[in-house]
Amino acid sequence: MRLSFTSFVVLLMLWCAAGAHAQGTTVSGKVSGEESGAALPGVSVTVKGTTTGTTTDAEGNYEITVPGQDAVLQFRYLGYTTREVEVGNQNVINVTLVTDTKQLGEVVVTALGITREKKALGFAAQEVQSEELVENRQPNVLNAMQGKVAGVTISSTGGAPGQGSSIQIRGINSIDPSRPNQPLFVIDGIIMDNSTSTFGEGSELRGMSNRLADLNPNDIESINILRGGAATALYGLQGANGVVVITTKAGRKGEMRVNFTSTVGFEEVNKFPDIQDTYTQGYLGEYDSTSFWPSWGPTVEEARQIDPTHPSKLYNHFKDAYESGSQFRNTLSFSGGSEAMSFFTSLSHLRHEGVLPFTNYQNISARLNADAQVSQKVRIGGNFNYINSGGDRYNADRFNESLSYWSPRWDVTDFRKPDGTMKTYGNNNPIYGAATNKLQDEVNRFIGGLTFGYKPLDWIDLSYRIGLDTYSDDRTRTAPGPRGLPDERVYEDNELGFVHEYSTRFRAINSTFIATLNSDFGENFSGTLRLGHDLLDRQSKSYGVIGQELAVYDYFRLSNARFLSTDEQETEYRLMGIFAEASVDYKDFLYLTLTGRNDITSTLASNNRSFFYPSVSVSYLFSEQFDLPDIINQSKLRLSYAQIGKDAQPYSISSGYAPYAGLPTGYTGVTRDALLGNRALKPEFTNTFEAGLEMAFFNNRLGFDFTYYYSLSKDQILNINVANTTGYILAAINAGEMRNKGVELVLNGAPIKSNNFTWDAKLVFSANRNKILKIPEELDEIVYASQFGYVGSTVSMRLVEGEPYGNIYGSHFQRYYGPGEEEDPLFIDESRPIVIGEDGFPVRAPLTSQKILGNSQPDWIGGFTNTFTYKNLSLTALLDARIGLEKYNQMDNFFAAFGIAEYTENRNDTKVFEGVLEDGTPNTKEVWLGQGIGPDGVDYGNGYYRNYYRGVSENFVEDASWVRLRSLSLNYSLPEKWFESIFIRNASLGFTGNNLWLHTDYKGFDPETSFSPSGSNVDGFSGFTYPAVRSYLFTLNVGF
């Protein structure tokens, strides 16, 4: 510690000595846009090679002190090409800027809020701007980025209001499936918690929000996604999975502006599974209107002869059970400022009703961003955001499972009797469950930060930021008890009524100090050195009281419960980093950046707690060095190498005894904790190599950005699931190696650009290949997830050496191998015939043979955005694709078991299964697929689907690739001349459709949805999920 500080001080002094001092003259002028001629406020004006700079005021005017006549002024403005002007002997320099068709020349916010020119970056960076984000009108910011950024996979886990989304940057980086693979989220320099808390019984499957969902998308100015090691190096281990840097809107100098945006829309389930409509309730083909079995009865016609009250057609209980949802969001914002101060403030309200009955979400957000230039040397800024969010969540897994048991002979929407109890013929009514078995959450959150900047000299800038993210997350789970009425049916999960109260208090304090030193060395070199200190102190405490069995059936107070028990959890985490970044630029075409960071973490033992790692990156603008043909614009080559360390999850190094929960009040017991801790854990390291090429052509009308990366993680820290015969459920170990490599491509084009009509197109494409190089020695494999399937069709996700992450294992049909032919133990050879048993049915291989049936990680993902603008009208369409992945469809497994799937319509057919007998001769035996005695007099028992089909996982691991029209938005700006004489400045109307079209072979709901909560690395199961939605939204935006 002391050593590092000392060396920094020395470095700092050395740098001081190199600093250049100069007194100069004053230059002023006005900056305007070339096309529009309008003044441009907020343009950054800097003296090249120094940090001397200012911004233009509301009228586009600036004034700046320059060191001398040889000084060069740089004018930078987002969306415009940067211009450089030599001062010479001029005192007034008026400049016009040309709009840029994106790409190079931009200024981007990189690590720790450092603003850098994009051309100087030696790593890939892709920014998403405000306009692109609000286009989809998605309440969850993450969803708004889908398909827009290369290398980033964002999956909405389902369509519930406020439901969490998962984001993965360049694949899975950790073998530890329990370890969040989510990137770090930083908003205006403050680390923002994006966890998805599943604290509290039942919240795991209730689509809880990822905490980023709290953010109002309308507040965001831009989002920059830092993907590789070199890009995130300054964030240290927290940035190991990438960093999402969010910048919110800031006030602009000038008159106050008021903006009002209102979005109204409705939504519906975008894809339903196909279900059979021929067979009704009962078993073995016998009709029984109270049977548990929803669809193994006779045909509707046959049933109607027995039961005249049977409806003439079966209900489509899946379509009936879901309704149409709605959402309303209103945002009012004010912004403005003077020379000394500027502000942006907004107030927003969202109300979202889901397609699954009785689910909803509400979000109220208030923000104040303010900046003040106290003196020439001192500036202060503050960002404050208060959020209140939450809603009624329901367990979609349970809902769909219950729907599968529900017989479509009965109307599922008729769920309540006049006395308020459940109406049913026998099985649980899922809608009644959604109506009464509740989980309501309410989050009150404050995110705030203060920034202090001090610039004692031209070449030195000190900045300090302190941020706080704190929230309470209160959850109330209730269900009414039985009322004791005659013939009352209790909804199973409601038991005897309960009330649970849970509360989490979270706070994270984040402090960052950065000193920036700039200097020129001679004519051709200039450099920047940054030194910094970073601290994160995070604390979270959760507790819950579980009250079971209510005396008054619907009085949801803990005092009304017969039995009370508790649940408590507490975590503290501390991390400190000291870092340095040195960058040198040679003649504005070659940039070299070196970084180093030393972290000290609280999650490792003292001897392993402190560790250092470096990075280096180069940006080479070859187009500036060589005289290239005119058609080639600014183009560059990037190279970087980075090492990033990573610590353990809190308390992975300790073991102990936890309170034993099975005893009543008055008794205390302890039980061995689930985790086998490991004091010897040492940090894991990831080495990343990245190379990229960016080129622009035809006046930047066409451009591409190509990236290749390769990263290798060693000594991974894992909390793996272990066999319970060890006496533990999890064990912390330091083992395993994983590799990710991939390519990313961004293609930009402006095929048409005329006065009235423009066409812009952007294509993003990425492909990642993962491989597990090593797993802990004594294990053959690590099973990190499994999901139930009937009679042997349970699937699991396993890590096996030499295989990629995401493989789904399960049972499979026996295939024919002749004498001497060897069977691959891992893969199915689909070209071989299936072995048919003596009974005429396909044979399942022994359950001990579990083969790879698919992989949940896509081969590639792509997004294609086209924007057409004609005068005031613009149309944007985003096609999004995820190709080459498989998922286990548990719903289809149940559909086979309960005779719901459309393909079970053939149950009364007789067929000869294609395949060969054990001796290799073709099968010729005719069998019946139905239940009971077949037409051939043979007793087929429970029938083909229950006896054979449902028990083979191979039938249910499906291609989950999709292509969709992610969004289509049409926006019309009302002509400004309409408002010339009134107080309205501008107004626009928009329509957005999300998920208007989906193409997939997957049989269940939209395969993007996931069984696991957001943030989980388990993404191979998509069965009984909250279905995705297709939404139609109308937006009005008015500026005053």
């Binding site: 302190i466 308390y651 904790d673 533990y728 053959d780």
Partner: protein
């Protein structure tokens, strides 16, 4: 905000090492007193008795599913991961208690741990056969090996013998805590009797093998229980007895705990001709005033609606399954029946007959049967067959009632080759014969490559001839 700045500064300037020392998990205890381990170990043991019985009670047809073709009823390969994990996590707690007791010289705790461990091992190995033990619960391997079932059996005997010695020691650095000993309330004497009762059970399990020694069984019996007051039972629940929980859910039409036709027909005396007075103590009559069992794998019969209460179920009115009834691990009546069987096999018919009648009487007492009713049943010629006419079938028939909802019943059924009157393989069962074992659970097969491959559930365990 200033406070935050302060935190940052302090952290930066002051001794960093302390600030980052967050190694101890605040949610955990490092060195708990033995008494807090005893309460957990004794309660988990009883709950595991319930968990295992929730599987085996379908095999011995005490219970039957209300749903046709349910997986346990019809002998399908069913995943009992939850039960397996609960057994092993309890064994880990018992193991830790034993280790700590050894360190502290708390002999009585060592003895109790031995008894509980032996009991758990018997539950595990009688369901699955080979199972991890010798390198389970210790943190040296993440993939414990499977010990042969025969070795595990020997280990249970060794543990029980050791328990008898340890519990018999006058000195123990820590005395059993009466409040936290949820089975015997701190009585070492009763723990020793339980050790003998379990030993008798284990020795008697070999009845079908050549190494069966009835005299050894009888010797163990002699040191065991002398009345129902000695029974190993546990009655401390978070809410209520788990069987009562099943019954309560069933009352609320979350169906479960339906009694099998097999049990009800025996109690009704369909086969013996004499109605068992324990029937109304075990269950309640239907809305029609009769007793109707449900055939295994057939599900709800009678009226079409499964909501009409025209079958018999586990009852919250029974002394065995009320909200506050204890779970019985091993009982005096059962020990008497072990004695009867061993004596009969040893040719001591008088002793056998006496134990047989005492066992039935003790069972009647436990179920609070009126003495007149009990006498009427016991004196019926179908029951009081006379010493010279006593058969194994008589003993097994009576023991079948005594071990109602106890996992031991399945061991007996297999030893007796399911030769109970009218006992048949369930309709549409996937096996052609009676079930003899269960398959290893997916949690273990998935995480432990040492797990043996068992697919044929008709394949008998080593002691099951």
């Amino acid at each position: 905000m200033l406070a935050l700045v302060f935190v940052g500064t302090v952290a930066g300037l002051q001794g960093c090492e302390d600030y980052f020392d967050l190694e101890d998990n605040p949610n955990l205890v490092n060195d708990p007193p033995l008494s807090t381990m005893l309460s957990t170990a004794t309660q988990k043991t009883a709950l595991n008795n319930y968990r295992v019985a929730s599987i085996t009670s379908y095999f011995v047809q005490y219970l039957a599913s209300s749903t046709q073709g349910s997986s346990t009823d019809s002998y399908e390969v069913t995943d009992y991961s939850g039960t397996w994990n609960a057994l092993y996590l309890a064994m880990a707690d018992i193991y830790d208690m034993r280790q700590k007791a050894l360190e502290e010289g708390a002999s009585h705790y060592v003895g109790v741990a031995d008894v509980l461990m032996a009991y758990h091992l018997s539950l595990v190995t009688d369901l699955w056969g080979d199972a991890p033990y010798s390198n389970a619960f210790i943190s040296t391997t993440l993939t414990p090996t499977f010990d042969p079932a025969g070795d595990l059996y020997q280990e249970t005997l060794r543990l029980l013998d050791e328990a008898i010695v340890e519990l018999g020691k006058a000195e123990s650095s820590v005395l059993l805590d009466a409040n936290n000993d949820l089975i015997h309330g701190g009585s070492t004497e009763n723990w020793i009797k339980t050790a003998y009762a379990l030993k008798a059970r284990q020795l008697n399990k070999l009845s079908g093998t050549s190494s069966y020694d009835p005299q050894a069984v009888l010797a163990a019996v002699e040191n065991s229980y002398t009345s129902n007051a000695d029974n190993a039972e546990m009655g401390v629940f978070e809410e209520r007895n788990p069987w009562a929980e099943v019954a309560l859910e069933n009352e609320n039409l979350i169906l479960g705990g339906w009694l099998s036709e097999q049990l009800i027909e025996q109690l009704k005396g369909t086969t013996t001709g004499v109605e068992d007075p324990r029937l109304p103590k075990i269950t309640d009559p239907t809305i029609n005033g009769d007793y109707v069992g449900t055939p295994n794998s057939v599900g709800n019969v009678g009226s079409a609606s499964n909501t009409i209460r025209d079958e018999t179920y586990i009852s919250r009115n029974s002394p065995l399954t009320s909200d506050t009834s204890p779970i019985i691990l091993v009982s005096y009546p059962e020990v008497k029946m072990i004695e009867a069987e061993a004596a009969l096999r040893a040719g001591q018919t008088e002793r056998a007959y006496e134990a047989y009648l005492q066992g039935i009487q003790a069972s009647m007492d436990m179920l609070e049967v009126a003495s007149a009713d009990a006498n009427a049943y016991i004196s019926d010629p179908a029951v009081s067959v006379g010493a010279s006419n006593l058969t194994l079938a008589d003993i097994f028939r009576e023991k079948y009632v005594i071990t109602y909802l106890n996992p031991e019943a399945w061991n007996d059924a297999r030893r007796f080759d399911y030769q109970y009157e009218d006992f048949t393989v369930p309709v549409n069962a996937v096996l052609p014969t009676f079930i003899r074992r269960v398959a290893y659970p997916s949690d273990e097969t998935a995480k432990n490559p040492n797990t043996p491959d068992v697919t044929d559930l008709a394949d008998p365990l080593w002691w099951d001839a």
